[in-house]
Symmetry: C2
């Protein structure tokens, strides 16, 4: 930092960026909850609201990107300060993708015309969503608090979500085999389950960003993954 003045200006820029990321995170968390609620309750109007909410997410990402870039150009931060700004941009990119995935689920609500809705499936989907949502919340808290151990907990927790997704896919495949009238409905749920799994992947990405922000290097450990070997040859969850 060139001077105290620049340092203060930088801190204020950074605070504003962090605030925007937190705002975006809150909105994205709500989109996740509402998209799955809409799916389960077949609430088409709620699904449409989730789709509409994505516009705000996209625009917040652009704002964060623009402000981050201007901050870098104006304040010329180095080392940790520069990493803070880059991290805000990265987190915003992941949040934007999460928004897209929730929006995609919101869109599917209107397409679910079958009455078929086995309780076991719903429970599985709810359980998976609860897990993923708590990962997203925890990793955003870890990001805000610069809490590396908390971020690493999220990073390690991805396996459980993958396992539930695998088991949901198996179940959906069984329903499809049993009765062709279930196929269309089950495919929508497969895409939704896949979307929720991908939201979990983005939480893991954010955990890696927290690692980079604090440690100053990319994480080199291999990302933990549920064993999909068996699964890959039987149902399409890759």
């Amino acid at each position: 930092m060139a001077s105290e003045h620049t340092a203060k200006a930088f801190d204020s820029d950074l605070q504003e960026l962090t605030r925007l990321v937190a705002e975006m995170g809150g909105l994205v968390e709500r989109m996740i909850t509402e998209s799955v609620d809409a799916l389960i309750r077949r609430d088409v109007a709620l699904g449409k609201r989730v789709v509409a909410a994505d516009i705000e997410i996209d625009s917040l990402q652009r704002v964060i990107e623009e402000r981050a870039v201007l901050t870098i150009a104006r304040r010329q931060p180095m080392a940790i300060d520069l990493r803070e700004i880059v991290s805000a941009m990265r987190v915003a990119t992941d949040l934007e993708r999460i928004g897209d995935l929730a929006k995609n689920m919101g869109k599917r609500v209107a397409a679910l015309e079958s009455d078929f809705q086995p309780l076991k499936l719903i429970r599985g989907l709810e359980h998976m969503t609860d897990l993923v949502l708590s990962q997203v919340k925890s990793v955003l808290d870890a990001y805000a608090a610069h809490d590396l151990p908390a971020a690493m907990n999220v990073w390690k927790g991805d396996e459980e979500v993958d396992a539930i997704c695998t088991s949901l896919f198996r179940e959906l495949l069984t329903y499809m085999m049993e009765d062709p009238r279930n196929i269309s409905f089950c495919i929508h749920l497969m895409f939704c389950a896949k979307n929720i799994e991908r939201i979990g992947d983005h939480a893991t990405n954010i955990a890696e960003t927290v690692f980079y922000m604090i440690e100053g290097q990319q994480i080199t450990d291999k990302r933990p993954k549920g064993d999909m070997t068996n699964f890959a040859t039987t149902v399409p969850g890759n």
Copy 2:
């Protein structure tokens, strides 16, 4: 630019960034071709090579991001110069996602155990891939040449891909209804068709980045989309 020296240093940084994006683009184009070839020919080894190639893509994205950020911090570019750098980062982000989507197709090759492989489906998949690949190539050329009309052509061409994807989904659904033994195979192809469609979406994103780079503002026209109204209520292509 503060001085001639800075201007030259900036130009050299920018050239290097553009070169890296072009390199990444070439690798990603090859991943798209090879992943679909691997799917169609059931070439598991080729599928694995595509999966392995994604590591290089991820690392190139990080390199581009780091260099872009350092260039902004060191050279403090403004206006068009700043937009050039931001655009390189954005294009790299889209290319990284395209790499992920090709990798996902590469992974699925090993899971396609059925012998079932109707020619019509293969032709549809090939046609869709050809279209999307030519979109990716054209938009990367448009980006390199700062050719806004060429980028806008890609931006408008997304509808045709969506229409082929819709028709592929209908066909796949029919095969699934006819014989439950086709279900697992067809679901893999649905996810692949969806991936190819999403690659097309990323080409459209890159076209929007070219617009932003040249015009200095975000594109405000609504993105053209095939009419999915009917489709949405029958098959799961949302």
